[in-house]
Amino acid sequence: MKLEGFPQNVALRDGASVVIKPLDVEEASAVLKFYRSLPEEDRLFLRDDVTKPEWLRRFVARIESGETVSLVAESEGRIVGEATLDRAQHGWTRHVAELRLAVAPALRRSGLGTTLAHELVRVATRIGVEKMVIQVVENQVGARKMFRKLGFRQEAVLRGHVKDIHGMKRDLVVASSDISHIWDAMESLVADFSPSHE
C-alpha cells in the first residue's frame, strides 16, 4: 500500500528534526536494531519479542500483506521511533485497528510520540479504519495523557493483567478512539438540508 504525504520533516520541541516515513521493508533490519536498543523494561510492555529475527520476518510479511502499516522516525540515519497500525483483513473486527508506538528514550517528551500517533490516525482515516484501540499499562502516565489528547477514551481495565520487570502485577488499560464520527460530520455537511425544514 502506497501512503501519500511522506516523507515528512518534523521539527521537535527541542529543535531537533526527524523524518517520518513508512518503513521500507528492504531496510526493516533497522527496526530490529532500534528495538534492541530500547531498555529491557520498555520491551517488556510489548506483546512480541521484538529483538528476534523471526518477529521481524512476521512483521515484514504483515506489512507486505497490508495488515500492518508501520511508520518510522529517522534521525541522522537511525530509527528513533516506530509506530504500527495493525488491522484484521477479515472478520467482525476488520473496522478496528490497534495502534502501537515506541520512541527512543532520548526523544521522549519531545513531541515525537504524539506526531507519530497523529500521523497514524491520519493514515487510519484514509484507509477506512473506524475505530482505533491502544493498550497501555497503568503507570505509563505520559502515554495515557498523550492518547487522551488524541481523542482516545478508556474502555476497559484488565486488573493485574501484566507483570513489570520487577514481577509486580499491573493493570492494563484499553482505550479507544471512534474515528467513524469524523465521516458522520462530513455526511451532515453534504446533506444539503436546511435546518429550517426540520
Binding site: 501519500e4 504525504g5 490516525v121 491520519r122 482515516t125 484514509r126 484507509i127 477506512g128 474515528i179 469524523i182 465521516w183 460530520a185 462530513m186 455526511e187 455537511l189 453534504v190 446533506a191 444539503d192 438540508f193 436546511s194 425544514h197
Partner: protein, 185 residues
C-alpha cells in the same frame, strides 16, 4: 466588472451547497474577490432537488441571484434538465458524465465537460467526496478560482480528519479538468 455567475445543481446528499460554498469561500476569502451564495433545498434531506447560486466578481455584487449562469455544474439528470437551458450562450457546462446523458437542450456554443466524479470519489474511498471532485473539476476547467485558494477553502471547510481525502478528491477533479481543457475537451 469581471463577473462569473455559477449554478450548482443536484440532489440532496450530493453536497451541492458545500460545493457552492467552497467556490465562494475560495474566491472571497482566499482569492480576494467578491462572492455571493444563494442556496435552495427541497423539503427532504436526501434525494430532493437542490441548488446553489454563486456569483464571483472582482467588485461588490449588487444582485446575487443567478438567472443565466456562465457556468453550470450539475450532478443529477433532473438538475441538468432543469438548468441546462438557462446557460448563457458561450457558457460552460460541467456535468457528472456517468449519471447524465447530454441531449439537444444545450444552447449552441455551450462548451460541455464531463467527469465521472462519482466513480472517482468511490475509487478514492468515499462516495461522499463527489462534490469535492466536482469542485476541483470546476477550478481546473474554468480557472475562476485558483488552485491554492480552493485547496485552502476545502481544508478549512471539511471536518477535521477528513482533510486528506477531501484534498485528494479536489486534486483528482482539478487535474482531470486541466487535462480536459488541454485535450480540447
Amino acid at each position: 466588472m469581471d463577473k462569473t455567475e455559477i449554478r450548482v445543481g443536484g440532489l440532496g446528499g450530493q453536497g451541492v451547497i458545500l460545493c457552492g460554498m467552497i467556490i465562494g469561500k475560495a474566491a472571497s476569502i482566499f482569492d480576494a474577490k467578491h462572492a455571493t451564495l444563494i442556496q435552495s433545498f427541497g423539503p427532504e434531506a436526501r434525494g430532493s432537488a437542490c441548488s446553489a447560486q454563486v456569483t464571483v466578481a472582482d467588485e461588490a455584487i449588487g444582485y446575487p441571484y443567478v438567472k443565466s449562469p456562465d457556468v453550470l455544474i450539475v450532478m443529477s439528470p433532473d438538475a441538468y434538465t432543469q438548468f441546462a437551458p438557462q446557460i448563457k450562450p458561450g457558457g460552460i457546462l460541467l456535468y457528472e458524465k456517468e449519471l447524465i446523458a447530454l441531449d439537444d437542450k444545450l444552447s449552441a456554443g455551450v462548451k460541455a465537460f464531463g467527469i465521472p466524479a462519482t466513480r472517482f470519489a468511490e475509487e478514492l474511498g468515499r462516495r461522499l467526496v463527489l462534490n469535492i471532485v466536482m469542485t476541483g473539476f470546476f477550478a481546473g476547467v474554468t480557472g475562476v478560482v485558483s488552485f491554492e485558494a480552493v485547496e485552502k477553502a476545502v481544508t478549512s471547510s471539511v471536518p477535521k480528519g477528513t482533510e486528506d481525502l477531501n484534498l485528494r478528491a479536489f486534486r483528482k477533479g482539478y487535474e482531470y479538468g486541466r487535462d480536459q481543457v488541454a485535450g480540447g475537451n
